[in-house]
Symmetry: D2
Subunit: 332 residues, 4 copies
Amino acid sequence: MNTFGQSFRLSILGESHGSCVGILLDGVPAGLFLEPSDFAADMERRKGGSAPGTTPRREDDAALIQTGILDGRTTGAPLLILFANRNTDSGAYEALRETPRPGHADWVALKKYGGFADMRGSGHFSGRLTAGLVAAGVVAKKLLSPVRVEARLLEVGGKTDMERAIQEAMAAGDSVGGIVECRVQGLPTGLGEPFFDSVESLLAHGAFSIPAIKGIEFGGGFGACRLRGSQVNDPILDMDGRTATNHAGGVNGGITNGNELVFRVGVKPTSSIRAAQTTLDLRTEAPAELKVEGRHDACIALRVPVVLEAMTAAVLVDLMMREGRLPRVLAI
Amino acid sequence: MNTFGQSFRLSILGESHGSCVGILLDGVPAGLFLEPSDFAADMERRKGGSAPGTTPRREDDAALIQTGILDGRTTGAPLLILFANRNTDSGAYEALRETPRPGHADWVALKKYGGFADMRGSGHFSGRLTAGLVAAGVVAKKLLSPVRVEARLLEVGGKTDMERAIQEAMAAGDSVGGIVECRVQGLPTGLGEPFFDSVESLLAHGAFSIPAIKGIEFGGGFGACRLRGSQVNDPILDMDGRTATNHAGGVNGGITNGNELVFRVGVKPTSSIRAAQTTLDLRTEAPAELKVEGRHDACIALRVPVVLEAMTAAVLVDLMMREGRLPRVLAI
Amino acid sequence: MNTFGQSFRLSILGESHGSCVGILLDGVPAGLFLEPSDFAADMERRKGGSAPGTTPRREDDAALIQTGILDGRTTGAPLLILFANRNTDSGAYEALRETPRPGHADWVALKKYGGFADMRGSGHFSGRLTAGLVAAGVVAKKLLSPVRVEARLLEVGGKTDMERAIQEAMAAGDSVGGIVECRVQGLPTGLGEPFFDSVESLLAHGAFSIPAIKGIEFGGGFGACRLRGSQVNDPILDMDGRTATNHAGGVNGGITNGNELVFRVGVKPTSSIRAAQTTLDLRTEAPAELKVEGRHDACIALRVPVVLEAMTAAVLVDLMMREGRLPRVLAI
Amino acid sequence: MNTFGQSFRLSILGESHGSCVGILLDGVPAGLFLEPSDFAADMERRKGGSAPGTTPRREDDAALIQTGILDGRTTGAPLLILFANRNTDSGAYEALRETPRPGHADWVALKKYGGFADMRGSGHFSGRLTAGLVAAGVVAKKLLSPVRVEARLLEVGGKTDMERAIQEAMAAGDSVGGIVECRVQGLPTGLGEPFFDSVESLLAHGAFSIPAIKGIEFGGGFGACRLRGSQVNDPILDMDGRTATNHAGGVNGGITNGNELVFRVGVKPTSSIRAAQTTLDLRTEAPAELKVEGRHDACIALRVPVVLEAMTAAVLVDLMMREGRLPRVLAI
């Protein structure tokens, strides 16, 4: 449901056009220095930069740490971090109850919640929810340090000249997808719990929670599955388990092997586009033409790297805590 | 860990060269007809057929239903299903403690379990463990009926002439990977729990538990992430939510939309190969040449379809039970 | 940790002298009518009445429903309900870091969280946290209707003349414990999941989360354990399973039997008392005399009934949802 | 359901008159010395001694360690431990489908599982299932060492002359209940996770899984709830947190305080008695007289101490593993 993790738990909350979005973090060790300004850099990254292709909606996105902190340090009690929603414009969404957007969650939200779902700005399905994830990631990355988690956009619309791909799509009232890669350096050997809590299982579970992600592959991924064993087996070089190549992406048998953890996710094109599409008018039950107005990213993948880092870091902190590899109280 | 699922729970157990492998199933509704012969067809499929490329190891693989059944029906108590290990030859494995196989779990098993792991036939990391999954799948597919779950091998070694690709690899003492696709027809709309238990998250979590899987993609997958929104948004056609195309693979916003559920997994080449490889000799800490003897599949992907069906069915039964869509007692 | 329940989940948050306390509820069906005024009656009961023996601290305790609601109905997304802390006076607590109160959580909080715990007003260990539970109970009791959950105080300080027992204790600068009984009418037969999720296991798990509870017994309880089988076996009277007596408290084999569910909890005397006690001075490591000043209940048991109802209702809703007995969308 | 614990997980299985009962243990650290003879002493204690009052049914109760072990040590993979059922006599039970025993689980089993439950020897509800718990306890107590968990019977039928109370009840074709106390010495300070996973919550959850338990109280328990704060607050004596008295039973605020952990459970009289009782005949829907034949304990409480030790040890190991206080690999 809306909670993830066993020893380090994220509970996500809020909706796009309600009063706030946020995250409740449980299992945060006591003694971690934390202040609202710690969140600023990643929240800024989440906006997708000043690049074209991101929505003109602007929140100041100040992290409001409501609970679990005293004198600038965590207390061991749950951390509630909220982000106020201020800059909302719900007018454009009412129509979506009648003409659900192709490719979007409108239809399933209407069906699953019997018409009671908050459809404004996609409600609880909005990409706005990822603000809470990013906040969790800030905490998780602090806890993981010196392990480093870094994600970046590899390509957009199938091209590495990303800016141009986005501008062309925008000019056509269209959107583009992208591929994001995440790398983690410095992980201990042995993370991951057979059989069902492999590090790949948990990372994939987390990654597919991020809206718009439709694929994930580790190391050589699908490409390596088209090769032979002799081409993808990574020779072990030393007693730290370092390998000459890294087709495994740092994971064997579902367990980290001490090499860099590498995986990629595919992010689909934003489903809300200005170009005309066909949908169903739920009142007349007849086909209807839809042009989605309002503020939308032409390329949601621009925002994904920092969110993917957050989910990755949260999964890894959880695993490390489950395995007794992170302290419950931080030394001063 | 070794348990998966919330309302329909799989607990996997056993090791390749111990006395047995098996599965403990909790949450099975009472009243389901079940007998050992129900498992025969899928256990046979798990052997990968008479095709070349599968290990010559032969188990009769009769399902031993130890608990949870009375007069041919489930009682509502946990089902313990075991498969005896008979045809084991551990001699070839002792050396792996000293020269871990590149690409395999040997190294991480040694590290994670401090030398106490059972390395014979890869122990708890063996593909033999999937026998228990397949058994769980037989039960899950019965419970899902008339929903149908079907997986098949799409390509091997990057080619659709699969038999030839395997034979060429075998001739070279090598192995090949493959791509397997799973399709589910007849699912209700609305399965999947925001935010973290999306149907994609849960299916991916399950799929990456299957040994050798390195990637998963839904619907159009990575390919669709290289296109534009206008190309991949699926127009809604009718009040059942049927869409003209299915780039979403039957899932929007992490929730089933009533269309066919479609996803693919990438299976890496078997890491145990006869061809010479370089590894580390853990005694001398010097490089060593390794040729893996013993019985190994040249293409483990041949066995994956029935295992992927099993994990998929288990995830879907669990979701349907969590959402109150399957009865706890079956009507006669 | 701070989350409880599987299908209907409570995540508790906040600390006594921070900005707020509250609860995050996940799994609430869509379509439930809910407004801030629904919480007023139970929040008033939580104050323990105008009776003597409750702390003079007064909050207005208005429920702030932050997320998960639209147009007065739940949307299916998580409900975040906060209560602002206004009337706090932290001055009296700083000393407790050095002279922990006997019987209180001060010592363990200091140890467990390495000195970083928020000790003001007992922080996350404060009875103030039960405001969130009561809010969860309001929602749960609405969902359970027409099943009725009712708890009441049976005795205080071992006496049924409760008011007098409290006044005598207060006059002595002392406190008293009490016994609270909870009864649930209208439950279906068959709630509870063998082996470990018996309805008694889950209710006890929930009840012992409530601060100050030191015992629980079902039906005839400890008294019945001093009798013979012929005295406590409840004869079955009719095809609804109604029994002539109810020594079982409505539970056999961990499963509801269709009769009234009855259990009692023991609430210890408030540990904060004005009378002089001996403790340890953590600076000097020598014994010290402690008189706890500040606002404290002389009889915390006065506040327990509504909190116990809340935990009970939450457990029962969770079980009913797990077993598919409550809809995920409410009919209009 | 039938699984308990987060990091150290017990999955219980089997039924009284099926082929076996047993336990699947997940999360057992690698390297623990374990052999079948380790289980003999506790399995013998589980039989209730040679005292009168225990059933004449005799199993040899040899622990069959099926998986998770190699060369006498645990491997880190799940441990499956089975006990064969040999000495079964199902004839006496068929009638219980028509005349459910008052006080027993017959009625709820019939209702919950729609007539498909295995009623022979009470099936999955049988006290026979506790064999698996005792096995789990043997492993857990080894892991906890040098922490010691010891339970003993305090009274039977309300009397401390226990043997006589049992003999009188048996002579009357009746049964008696009892009170069992458990004490744990050597626990670290700080075990227990606020808010919902207090050590009392988890121990009570586990204890109420044991058949026939109807009450639990910690430290001074219900008696202390009839006293004043000045009488039950335990003065802190030294920097280890040792207290002059132990009314708290070693737990404050749900967290162990470093003193002896003490709690008691109430065990109801065995519900199967030879003396005539009134029940309902489900065929005629009319009252019927029932005399339960077959082998039954006159005092099930005789068997409870070793089972309570087992559940207690399992809960404590789980908590210690969750909190990183037990290693995942044992040093040699």
